[in-house]
């Protein structure tokens, strides 16, 4: 997956390098904050570990061997931000010392393998292992799937980077200047290779090492998993109620598109003139409805749509998203204000007694 120099245009390299500069800076700042003076040796050994993992051959059936990148494994063992630096440093050494992966393409390689891969893989791992004990089998499975999805996501990014080259950069007579394959060719080619072989090598390595550490060295695995019970027998930490509330809200939000299927509307929702009065056995539109129907017309998305009336579905979903955000912000503001007020009320008597 290491992209050499010459496949990507300087513009693409500059954009991806530009993305990686703040990402690396955040990673360095965060790691320093957590590990203080222990940071340099910790990250350096992590980077050396990352380099060596890429050198080890994993035996696969049919007598052949495959390499793994190991970025998701490092994210699980050291945390995703530490993985960003460790894999980036390994990539720098590979590029400058061994010509493996380009120098100009360093930003692109770091974006795929040191940013997308550990974060996607680690996210999947956290999601699937949520609530499981440190020595549970679910955690092994979650690690494996995290590795599989992580490397596939990185491959997809590389495929997109390759695939946009011929459309963006070609001469007047249609000669592609950089990687010549189109998205319709790069994406299937990269995904096929990674969904079948490389993905399984990564899955096996990530899951295998986590399983080994569960058996042989649980404290080492616990290093980045504070507050998680080691076995299922240990009392699991109490889950706060708001987590369940958030899950409920999240599920409801995901069901938003169902509203698109709903026929009809509420009583007099759209306009009083459209009311089917006979259906409700009414002689006239209620006076209050007439009075207040046009009370407020300054809406951003009238009838959950754009003012132009185009892209109905998109507008509906955007309205839903904005609505959730606005409601969330309002609740957040209320909570913060309440806490602030009650905090001041609590502090003032204690100040008097002190």
């Amino acid at each position: 997956m290491h992209i050499p120099d010459g496949y990507l245009s300087p513009a693409t390299c500059a954009v991806l390098g530009g993305v990686m500069v703040p990402v690396t800076a955040i990673a360095v700042a965060r790691a320093k904050e957590v590990a203080k003076s222990r940071y340099a040796p910790l990250i350096a050994t992590g980077a050396a570990f990352s380099f060596l993992v890429q050198m080890l051959n994993v035996p696969v059936p049919d007598g052949t061997t495959a390499h793994a990148v190991g970025a998701v494994l490092i994210a699980i063992l050291l945390g995703p931000w530490a993985a960003v630096i460790a894999v980036t440093v390994a990539l720098i050494i590979q590029a400058f010392l061994f010509g493996d992966g380009g120098v100009l393409a360093l930003g692109a390689n770091a974006f795929n393998m040191a940013f997308i891969m550990p974060f996607v893989g680690y996210g999947i791992y956290r999601l699937l292992s949520y609530g499981s004990s440190l020595s549970s089998r679910r955690r092994v499975l979650a690690a494996g799937i995290g590795g599989y999805v992580g490397i596939t996501a990185a491959a997809l990014c590389a495929a997109i980077e390759f695939g946009i080259q011929p459309d963006l950069f070609e001469t007047a007579d249609g000669t592609p200047l950089y990687a010549p394959f189109h998205l319709s060719q790069t994406i299937p080619a990269m995904l096929l290779a990674h969904l079948t072989v490389a993905g399984f090598a990564e899955l096996a390595l990530t899951a295998g090492v986590v399983a080994y550490l569960q058996r042989a060295n649980l404290p080492l695995l616990a290093f980045k998993h504070r507050g998680i019970a080691e076995t299922a027998d240990d009392s699991s930490p109490p889950r706060s109620a708001w987590r369940w509330a958030l899950i409920g809200i999240g599920v409801t939000a995901l069901l938003t598109p169902l509203g698109l299927l709903a026929p009809g509307g509420a009583f007099g929702e759209d306009a009083p003139a459209e009311l089917d009065l006979g259906k409700y056995h009414l002689g006239a539109v209620p006076r209050g409805l007439v009075k207040y129907a046009d009370f407020w017309q300054h809406t951003l998305f009238a009838d959950y749509g754009f003012s132009s009336g185009q892209h109905e579905t998109l507008a509906y979903l955007i309205s839903a998203g904005l609505g959730i955000l606005a409601a969330g912000a309002a609740v957040f503001a209320i909570v913060v204000t309440t806490r602030f007020v009650s905090g001041r009320a609590e502090r003032s008597p204690s100040a008097e007694t002190a």
Binding site: P4, D5, G6, V28, T45, M55, P59, G99, T175, A216
Partner: protein, 305 residues
Amino acid sequence: MAATAPEWLLASETDLAPCALTGRRRRRGFLEKTIQATARFLQSAIRSEETASEHGLLQRLDARVKLVSLVALLLAAALVRHVSVLLALLLATLALAVSSRLPLRLFLTRAWLYVPLFTGIVVAPAALSFVTPGEVVVSLGHWFGHPVGLTHQGLESAALVVSRVTVSISLVVLVAMTTSWPRLLAALRTLLCPKLLVLVIGMTYRFLFTLLGAVEEMYVAREARPRSSERSVRQGRAFVFASVGALFGKTQALSEDVHQAMVARGYDGDARMLERSRLTLVDVAWIGACILVVMLLLGVDRAAL
């Protein structure tokens, strides 16, 4: 003092039959492959130290100057749109390799053999009219009434990518083989990288050798044990995972030891470096030459449009 590699480390693998007809090629297992990869890593690291201590043209240059000119030339190579211009640059890298007294065989195999071959295989399908539509030069028949074959645009694009990749890798190999790693690191620090990142890169490079030794010991020990028939792919994988897990344990222990040693020597979390060297007349001349070359390359390339 020039470091010299022992003979056994430089010897090429001898277990391959010279020709497929006279003997059966032994399929190497993952143990052997990994051990050989570690040996190759050490070999190339030692060879680079050796070639970096020669008295050639590029070895005399300041590492910072080399790094800046590397990026400038890589950029120029990326912007050039003609195969002929890239080939001229390729010849220039060969001349630089000769004037830097690099072992040519090593340089050519590292930069001019595998990389163009592999790139060629990858981009070859791009010459087909399916991928790159255009003027068909070599016809391969018809497909649903449309002429199919190698297109002029496709062939040129493939040649462009192969030559650009080869030029780029040649430039990187030139710098890697003529600059000692500590100097390259120092150069990285004075240029762009934050100090702390450079400190980490330097430590990583040193840890690599320590941990590589650990990996090699584990693998050689495994290889030395008598082979039994029940050794399967599954067991092999279990061994690899166990060694990676054990390796991670070793890295944690090593990091803790090193941290304590650093603190004992007064490390407070801030990286300090030794004083840097000054630029010489050769460096200034080189910078001038590089600017000229880049302008010439881009000028000729644009003029040929």
